[in-house]
Symmetry: C2
Subunit: 346 residues, 2 copies
DNA sequence: CTGAAAGCGCTAACAC
DNA sequence: GTGTTAGCGCTTTCAG
């Protein structure tokens, strides 16, 4: 039962006729309380609907069981699926989540965001913002000086900070290799904005795989998009023009790929016969595009789960005094989901 | 600058040679401090990188400047866009967000979720979970007994609790009326799952509008989907069968509508000439469907903003002692976005 | 204008 | 087993 006003330890103690200390022992399941006393106190707690104040506890224990999450772009599905994974795991592990969202992906001044999380005694912080432009370089200097552990959800920061991410480079390679395996040779690319590390990595994967196959990726083979549908259409039309012999295209995300499928359809370019298409991200809807889209699947939900799990491990280790040397560095492997858009039929 | 270990008020006081009280006055911008003292203390604060503990403050002030948010289905775009709106407004108003997500939309036992928020001294709670089945009836009994204000992001709870939502019923009417205006007469409907209040409301809007136009919506005119693409396809095929004379369809969300457009295309059903289509939600991608989809737009971002704004107003009013009678009840009006999928050409 | 004392709600450390 | 004392970091009295 939830009570209108806050019941305190003291009141419980008074009603139960014991000291606040004993009440404390009971709510913390300490062994050194006699069964009768425990039962009695327990009963009073239930009757009064007493709940210990997490705030007071945080203050005395110097632990809040709270994780700070810094994200950006919640209006896109990727970041929110990551968050979705985090909430579940956090709940499971008994941590609450304090959420902050940057106004833009490339927001620069984020020190006050960290501050506000630390002011609230967050036990650890998850930086779930993609690396765009220079938005991380200075951050990487800041992070080691923080009093709480931070884990990055972005590719290798070229430092010794803990991180977890999907291997975008390998994803790019997988997509391209798959198209090569299908017999496509003139493989174009529509990238994300190159200020994004992940866009660069996907593009490099494409480029290197072609090179390994003895094919050179000239500048006319690719166009830069900005992840959005609109940019996908523009990029595709430009690519058709500057690379007319193209027989397949690796698109850096599914949203742009969806538009490309539609434009191709309208322009009577047969997919996959005349144009193989592979996307990236593995959005649920990509299975319903026409034709169904082959894509590189990243499990954002798991990414979020894992981030929380790892961070909590670091926190607890630090707490127990175990080597705080748990420097998590995980590069998760994406998965190629093969559908019709890339299967060259006989 | 961020410091590795927490600097306390006391330390600042010691270094500055004043009492902790004076430090407190300075950080709270109280007028009763001499300019010199203030400057001196200010300098020490900067130098030491002192930041007051929000936790200690919460404890003494009985206010945490924290809002609890209970959401569900973050892996879908709607809930996350709402959240996106909340983070911005909360930041602006100086509140932090404590995030909880229900494992499922129809999670029943949520008392412990409220508890955990209250344990952490949230100043108010936003219930951003759609009404599904009976998941709210008992909640509405609980809410008035809570020690903190709660605001609902769902349609009229038939009680006196504050809420904000989009008018789903009117949205359904707008969509249907628009199709009628375009000269369509046999207007079918693919609804969301009817355990959802919003699905029922949209359907009712469709039904009533048809009735007002002297058209009866028989059971064969509609099929129930479950919001997903897959269900959309199934529902559409069934509807084609049981309502072959249908000349337009109002689909309860854009995701299902997108699949319907594709199926129609493949089956050589011309949209909009042979079949007018209107969706619901106003997803960004609906503008890129083929043909571009007419849809009922709800601004989720604004919904989230407004929720935070209203809740904070209630909180501050309560704090100032102003009539806690600010019972917010807002039904926002959705907006019809007309695109090609519903324009009957000459 | 400034400081001393008290206490928010809880728990660690030590008595008994 | 249980109570007492002290104090987490801050702010609200109330003196001076």
């Amino acid at each position: 039962m939830i009570k209108k006003s806050r019941i305190t330890n003291k009141e419980v103690a008074r009603v139960a006729g014991v000291s606040t200390q004993t009440v404390s022992r009971v709510i913390n399941n300490r062994p050194d309380v006699s069964p009768e006393t425990r039962q009695n106190v327990q009963a009073v707690i239930e009757r009064l609907g007493y709940r210990p104040s997490a705030v007071a506890r945080s203050l005395i224990q110097q632990r809040s069981y709270t994780l700070g999450v810094i994200t950006a772009g919640l209006k896109y599905i990727g970041p929110s699926m990551i968050l979705n994974g985090m909430t579940g795991k956090a709940e499971e592990l008994g941590y609450a989540l304090l959420l902050k969202e940057l106004p833009r992906f490339d927001t620069h001044n984020v020190e006050h965001i960290f501050q506000s999380l630390i002011d609230r005694h967050a036990d650890g912080i998850i930086w779930a913002v993609p690396e765009v432009g220079e938005n991380q370089s200075w951050l990487k200097q800041l992070a080691p000086n923080l009093s709480v552990p931070v884990i990055f959800l972005t590719s290798p920061p070229h430092s010794d900070l803990p991180y977890i991410d999907y291997d975008n480079y390998r994803g790019g390679r997988m997509a391209t290799q798959h198209l090569l395996d299908q017999g496509f040779r003139k493989i174009g690319h529509i990238s994300g904005p190159l200020e994004w590390l992940s866009a660069r990595q996907r593009k490099e994967g494409w480029q290197d795989t072609l090179r390994d196959a003895g094919i050179e990726a000239t500048p006319s083979c690719w166009v830069e998009g900005n992840w959005s549908q609109g940019s996908g259409e523009r990029a595709f039309r430009q690519l058709l023009e500057q690379y007319p012999e193209m027989d397949a295209v690796f698109v850096a995300n599914d949203q742009m790929a969806s538009v490309i499928l539609q434009v191709a359809y309208r322009e009577a370019i047969m997919v996959p016969q005349e144009l193989g298409v592979v996307g990236f991200d593995g959005l649920v809807e990509s299975a319903y595009y026409w034709p169904p889209l082959t894509t590189v699947f990243q499990d954002f939900h798991t990414l979020g789960c894992t981030a929380v799990k790892e961070l909590v491990e670091i926190i607890e280790a630090k707490w127990i005094g175990t080597a705080s040397q748990i420097t998590t560095r995980l590069l998760l492997q994406p998965e190629l989901v093969i559908r019709e858009s890339s299967i060259k039929r006989g």
